[in-house]
Amino acid sequence: MEHWNNGLIKKTEMENRSNGNLGMGRLTHRSIIPSFRGLKLEEVIMKWNIPSLKELEDVLWRCTACGTCKEAYEYGPPSVSSPICPAGEEFSFEGFLSSRGKIAFARGILSGDLKWNDALIDAIYKCNVCGGCQSQCELDHKPFIPEIIEAMRRKIVADGVGPMPKQKVIAQSLSSYDNPYQGPRRVRLDWTRPFKKQGKPIKNILEEPASILYYVGCTGGYNVPVRVVPQATASIFHKLGLDFGILGESEICCGSTAMRLGDVEAFKRVAESNLELFRKLHDEKGLKTIVTSCAGCYRAFMKDYPMAEEYGRMMEGIRVIHTSQFLYDLYMTGQLKFAESLPWKVTYHDPCHAGRHLTKFIIDKEGTQLWAGAYVKLEDKDCLYDIPRQLLKAIPGIDLREMRRIKANSYCCGGGGGVMTGYNDWAARNAGIRIQEGMETGADHMVSICPFCHYNLNQGAQGTGSKMKLFDLTELIDKVLPEKAS
């Protein structure tokens, strides 16, 4: 065995980094994290079914260029019609606008009519991969729309021409720090300081068994204004007396950001380590439930990780759940009771990753119902649309006001898909549009369940000079939950 530094990273790698060798000698796929504080991982070679752009070619020819994806339209009556594509709002030209445009790029790339150049690559990254366009489309390629966009990005990365310069930092950071924020490992735990101070330390699941793993996610850990999210979550868990643990400094990124940017190798590297770790934690530390308060991590665990053929085996006996669903279940069984009243007028923002991205599309693979490959229907029971709303409404005093664009037609905050890193000005401007929409409801504050939206929408509010603040649902719950739950 080689030298290991706190059970996480090869010392040689560590040294490389301290020499300022950032991103050089990128970690190979399996070279990372073979053991977590004595937990030895299996090193399973995983097979991933992640489609290439070429493999999606037949699918993307199903698009008719009808442009229905350009607007969110609901018949009603009365009917409602609104812009749905942040990229289209900002950059206007067809191509930027909705899936019609992205599919045009994909066709051009595959036919050879479009060759890589800076402007094309830039245009492909100027998309939140929010899926707003996907919600409107009705044809057989509907289930694959975000996949088509990300497959173009995967090709960009594979061809060595992307992602965008600012986004490359993410890839480097992932490879150097296992998080996209270039944050040293020890910083990951900074959010827990208040708990230590209060004499309520949070268990490290690698050291002590726990049935619940609270997977914090990099944004909650490193993004200072967003640390309130894990803090509120852990506070609630403490108040409820739950047996939970965190991975502490040993937590690594879920890989969502890498996947959204098309860096599939970086994604696989962390995803495989995580899957193996979860398996071990289940077998050796009693892990049964992974709770995450990050919509991005949740989306990755629910939609991206299952693309590994080994997913079923690795996750057997482990449930992944978003904090909102977890708390809702406790609420429904009477374990979560609100003591105080919160007389706030709020509106709710559906994050893409915890909302429409979790839609299940039923496809007639064998051609027994319609024809082979036909999109049959969708199921949205996994989309966290109603659960956060019901929890909000359960808080005494809360006056919930809906925005125009909600649920499947929610307007993306503008932060996702690598945009917050690649194009932060645009991300904040777009968040300003959403904040404005929130203000039109008469609400004072906006609530959501995603640390990414949390950060970006607060940036947007600042940018527009609005007094509206974005709160995580857990922050509100923490406010009204008594210290000792009954």
């Binding site: 260029a65 607007e71 018949y75 009603g76 019609s81 245009a123 009705e138 044809l139």
Partner: protein, 491 residues
């Protein structure tokens, strides 16, 4: 077989020299701003094709305009430089009408999307070209009003549809969308701003194109080749609260014609439409599949809206009388149940179900075109019989619609023809079938609407020489350098 890869430059022009292109782009940017004009290949590519069989062609520039002044300056410049200008709102016309035949500039109006005026008392609205059907529907609903909605994509432009003689789904009551136009503001190809209709006399009056000479005709049905409409007045209507849809089916197209003719005499319908079995399927079968022997070949839905129950009852009484009469004649007309989703598709307007192309293209994939015509009603049956042979001969479903318009007994006869656009062979197969059908229709007195160039050629072959001479003269007068959507009318 994969679709042909090459994207043509407009046929008649050579590629624009790079230095010239840069100079022109600079000028365009100086008019509309840095962000709103481009020559980026991937953006040009996104404007190079639509859903139809029309061969993709690249523009040289794409320009997004925000104001009338910008439009004027762009046209003055384009006219001076003789750069083709193709107006574009959403590109969903199903006829390649925004595909630049000769390169040049796509002028995209999506950001000119203000509803300038909505007068719920006088019952008209004034809109910019980028206003979508969805957007207008929402604004009108606030006053319980509606427009003569087509069933196109909700994101498509109201104005573009209206000026191209768009067909609404309330044609039997309100007439074509172009008959709803009440006034216009237009930028001529030479850059001058003109107004036609009442707004020409009083800038705030947008209620009527009559009784003055109908100069709005200079810009209606010309497919954006005579000027750019920057404001459009349109009539809007109260939504009667009671919807009643009468549905019948029959085995023979002649029986359906007889029923529609009879019923339309009473003028009780908002829409009187019949569809062949293939078009009643969601989606249209592709390739052709025979109709089950026990299924009727034709279905009709007659949509009626009434303000009171009594009005509805009176309409019902008339409809029952017509059905009785048709049965007594020995026709195969039967009162029938029409599938729920298909009905919704035609009555929940603007229609997301139809607009999304779900019921047309979902099975075929990617492509759709049509022989879409206005045809004398008494020719529908014989033409349908011919079309059926042609379509089946090409292994395509004869998904035909007949709709009776207001007034004269004529109306839409069209075969919605989806195809697999990924395959050049299947695309060409559809094109050939459609053009063949079109010729049959033209020879029977029909007229294609929103015609692709292939159709325009066929029209012109048959046109009275005086018609062609007048059309050319008007075009020359309005657009001396032939910059506006050149080539589209086949002249």
């Amino acid at each position: 077989m994969k679709a042909k890869k090459e994207i043509k430059k407009g046929k008649a022009v050579k590629a624009v020299r790079t230095d010239k292109k840069e100079r022109i782009l600079k000028e365009l940017k100086s008019i509309v701003g840095e962000k709103n004009a481009t020559t980026d290949q991937h953006i040009l590519y996104a404007y190079s094709y639509d859903m139809s069989f029309v061969t993709p062609k690249l523009p040289d520039y794409v320009v997004i305009v925000h104001t009338v002044e910008e439009v004027q300056r762009i046209l003055k410049f384009a006219n001076k430089e003789k750069i083709p200008v193709v107006p574009y709102t959403s590109g969903t016309n199903i006829g390649g009408l925004c595909i630049p035949e000769r390169g040049g500039m796509i002028l995209d109006f999506k950001k000119m999307n203000k509803i300038i005026k909505l007068d719920p008392e006088a019952l008209y609205a004034v809109i910019e070209p980028g206003v979508s059907h969805g957007q207008l529907a929402e604004a009108l609903y606030k006053y319980n009003l509606r427009f003569g909605w087509p069933v196109g994509p909700p994101s498509a432009s109201v104005a573009s549809c209206a000026i191209c003689h768009g067909i609404g789904h309330m044609n039997a009551r309100y007439g074509l969308n172009s008959q709803e136009i009440t006034s216009m503001e237009v930028v001529l190809p030479t850059g001058e701003l003109v107004r036609v209709g009442s707004c020409a006399i009083n800038p705030d009056a947008w209620h009527s194109c009559l009784p003055m000479p109908q100069m709005d005709g200079l810009f209606k049905g010309w497919l954006g080749s005579t000027g750019i409409v920057t404001k459009l007045g349109i009539a809007v209507h109260h939504i009667p609260p009671i919807l009643k849809i009468f549905t019948v089916s029959c085995d023979h197209v002649d029986d359906m014609y007889s029923y529609m003719l009879n019923l339309s005499n009473y003028e009780i319908c908002d829409d009187l439409t019949a569809v062949s079995w293939w078009l009643s399927q969601v989606p249209i079968p592709y390739p052709y599949k025979p109709k089950p022997d026990d299924a009727p070949e034709w279905f009709s839905y007659a949509t009626t809206f009434s303000f009171t129950e009594k009005e509805k009852e009176a309409r019902t009484e008339i409809w029952e009388k017509v059905v009785d009469e048709e049965k007594k004649k020995g026709t195969s007309i039967q009162v029938t149940h029409y599938p729920e989703e298909a009905l919704k598709a035609r009555t929940q307007l603007p229609s997301q179900i139809v607009g999304s192309t779900k019921n047309y293209c979902k099975m075929a994939g990617g492509g759709i075109s049509w022989p879409g015509t206005f045809t004398p009603a008494n020719r529908w049956a014989p033409i349908y019989k011919e079309w059926k042979k042609i379509m089946i001969g090409h292994n395509l479903s004869p998904s035909v619609r007949m709709s009776m318009y207001r007034g004269v007994h004529y109306g839409m006869l069209r075969a919605m023809t989806p195809f697999n656009k990924q395959s050049a062979k299947e695309t060409e197969n559809a094109r050939q079938a459609i053009v063949e059908c079109l010729k049959v229709d033209l020879d029977n007195g029909g007229m294609p609407y929103k015609p692709p160039v292939d159709f325009a050629m066929e029209i012109n072959k048959r046109a009275h020489p005086g018609y062609l001479m007048l059309m050319k003269r008007l075009k020359k007068f309005l657009d001396p350098n032939d910059i506006m959507n050149p080539g589209k009318l086949g002249i």
